[in-house]
């Protein structure tokens, strides 16, 4: 759906994007993850036609973005990091203004706006001037402006980062709803918990370079700590010995009723272990694969990236 190849961008002499490439699949939630200053906002401003760039290619729906910008923008919605409005307008007026620019028919627009205001939970404040809105309300209004024309692709730049916990949850719930409706979502964030919750694929950017681009599930498979924590009903007897003989077992630590078992291949390990355990006389009361979070993976990878340089 979105294909970016070797995109480069500099501000004056500072090279901010050093040739990034990635692919966003239709209907997926693509997590664009990086620390502050990594180049997320710059990338999104380019992909929404707001910033020029030096070199590289952008294809959206198979069409060249630069050549078909006006056409392609019709299917794109953008929620900027710090949305700015005409603050003397109220939410209703602003959405009307944006809808008119987008070319929506007045009659349907009025109806759609009322519906949108309900969706983003701004109905009560719709006739108040935007200058009096809180950060979270502005964020929700900007989301409404971004989806007013029912775009297929959404660019959301840190939609929840600046919000309080309650606002964050509301925003995430809205994202999940959009995901359910089949939108392709390009979501930048530095909050890994949020990415973990909604993304199908993550792409880590650091200092203008892509360090990793992978499906979230593959990522877990690759970086998961290959350790099983198993607790038995009775004290251990022969179990340790039996398990130790298996070829895919790396090492075993036993203590009382508990075994910590490392494997050298998580795929085989996961497939085999339950069979083996069910053959034992001692019942298993608890079984767990030690899961590392995206946060661990992120720290791991960005550290590696630093070492490579």
């Amino acid at each position: 759906m979105i294909k970016v190849a070797d995109l480069k961008k500099s501000y004056q002499r500072l090279e901010v994007l050093k040739g990034i490439s990635f692919d966003v699949k239709k209907g997926s939630v693509f997590g664009f993850i990086g620390k502050n200053g990594a180049g997320k906002t710059t990338t999104m401003n380019i992909l929404t036609g707001l910033l020029r760039f030096e070199s590289g290619q952008i294809l959206i729906n198979g069409m060249d973005f630069l050549k078909n910008k006006i056409e392609l923008l019709k299917s794109i919605g953008y929620l900027p990091e710090n949305p700015v409005f005409y603050e003397y307008m109220n939410a209703y007026e602003y959405l009307n203004f944006i809808g008119e620019i987008t070319g929506l028919k007045t009659k349907k627009l009025n109806f759609d706006i009322l519906h949108l205001l309900k969706v983003v939970n701004l109905k009560i404040q719709a006739k108040r001037r935007i200058s009096g809105y809180s950060r979270g309300m502005k964020q929700r209004l900007a989301l409404a402006a971004a989806i007013i024309h029912e775009p297929d692709i959404l660019f959301l730049d840190e939609p929840a980062s600046a919000l309080d916990p309650e606002g964050r949850l509301e925003m995430l719930a809205l994202l999940e709803e959009l995901k359910r409706r089949g939108k392709t979502i390009f979501l930048s964030t530095h909050i890994l918990n949020d990415a973990e919750r909604v993304c199908d694929e993550v792409c880590i950017i650091e200092e203008g370079r892509i360090l990793l681009d992978e499906k979230l599930s593959d990522l877990y498979d690759k970086y998961i700590q290959p350790v099983f924590d198993i607790e038995f009903e009775k004290e251990l007897t022969v179990e340790t010995e039996i398990l130790n003989k298996l070829s895919w077992v790396e090492s075993i630590k036993a203590c009382g009723k508990i075994i910590n078992l490392s494997v050298n291949n998580i795929k085989i390990g996961r497939a085999e272990i339950l069979k083996v355990l069910s053959g034992l006389d001692n019942y298993v009361t608890s079984f767990q694969i030690r899961k590392s979070s995206l946060e661990d993976i992120f720290i791991n990878i960005t550290n590696q990236g630093r070492k490579v340089k």
Binding site: T41, N45, T48, G49, L50, L51, R52, K69, I70, L73, K74, I76, G77, Y78, P80, N82, P83, V84, F85, Y86, Y88, M89, E93, F97, I98, E100, I101, T102, G103, A142, A145, A146, H149
Partner: protein, 255 residues
């Protein structure tokens, strides 16, 4: 067209709610009301304290003098109000990132630029017209003698409106070039006042818009051929500045 419509309405709301209409009204119409009154009252107030010779200057104030006084104030002070209230017309939109959402929705820059220009050109025309007309009736009732007639007032009014239309186009373009509004503001003021100097050079003055200001004060003299280049160049400048602004707004990074 839809970008034009959306921005025309937006400019209307903005000017009304951010008191731009009020400021412009003060900048133009206020003088039309205040000037004649001052000219009428000042001699009365000063009667006691001024020597007779000086006072005689005030006593032969006629309608022409009062009207010329308005022209002078509109040029000197009206432009200040005009330029300072509109210098951010594009620069503040860009620097405060207000164009991010509209541009991401496929805003057509030509629609926005034309809407801004036409909205304020109409606004200023109305205020100038109102100022000239109120001043005329006011002056007529307060003072006697002079050649001033409604034809003269309307002719001067037309020249002023054309002049401000040129300045507005210049301001629009300058405002699209800089991020800090004060820079286009000062540049335009320097051009407005500085170019008045050329009115002393009879060979080239009618090739510059400030000649309109000179001719507006030439009461009783209407169109002559020396104005042809002035008109032509004024219209050309308006077109070229608007065109350059559109080009600029098509290329500019709004994020």
């Amino acid at each position: 067209m839809r970008s034009f419509r959306a921005y025309f309405k937006k400019e209307f709301k903005e000017a009304a709610r951010n008191y731009k209409y009020l400021i412009l009204a003060v900048g133009f119409i206020f003088w039309a009301l205040l000037d004649p009154l001052m000219l009428k009252l000042l001699p009365l107030i000063l009667k006691a304290s001024l020597p007779v010779e000086l006072l005689s200057q005030f006593t032969n104030i006629n309608r022409d003098y009062a009207f010329l006084n308005l022209l002078k104030d509109l040029f000197q002070v009206g432009t200040l109000f005009f330029v300072f209230s509109l210098m951010g017309i594009i620069s503040s939109e860009v620097s405060k990132k207000k164009l991010v959402l509209p541009y991401s929705r496929g805003l057509k820059p030509e629609g926005m630029v034309l809407a801004k220009y036409i909205h304020y050109a109409i606004t200023v025309s109305i205020f100038i017209f109102a100022a000239f007309l109120t001043n005329y009736f006011y002056v007529k009732s307060l003072f006697n003698s002079g050649v001033l007639s409604i034809q003269i007032v309307l002719w001067s009014c037309f020249l002023y409106i054309l002049y401000f239309a040129v300045i507005l186009a210049l301001l629009l373009y300058m405002s699209s070039l800089f991020k800090k509004s004060i820079i286009p503001g000062l540049l335009v003021l320097a051009i407005v006042y500085g170019f008045n100097f050329f009115n002393q050079l009879s060979l080239i003055r009618n090739y510059l818009p400030n000649y309109l200001i000179l001719r507006a004060a030439d009461l009783g003299v209407f169109f002559d051929t020396s104005l042809i280049p002035t008109f032509f160049i004024s219209v050309f400048l308006i077109a070229i500045f608007i065109f350059l602004t559109i080009i600029r707004m098509k290329k500019i990074d709004v994020a």
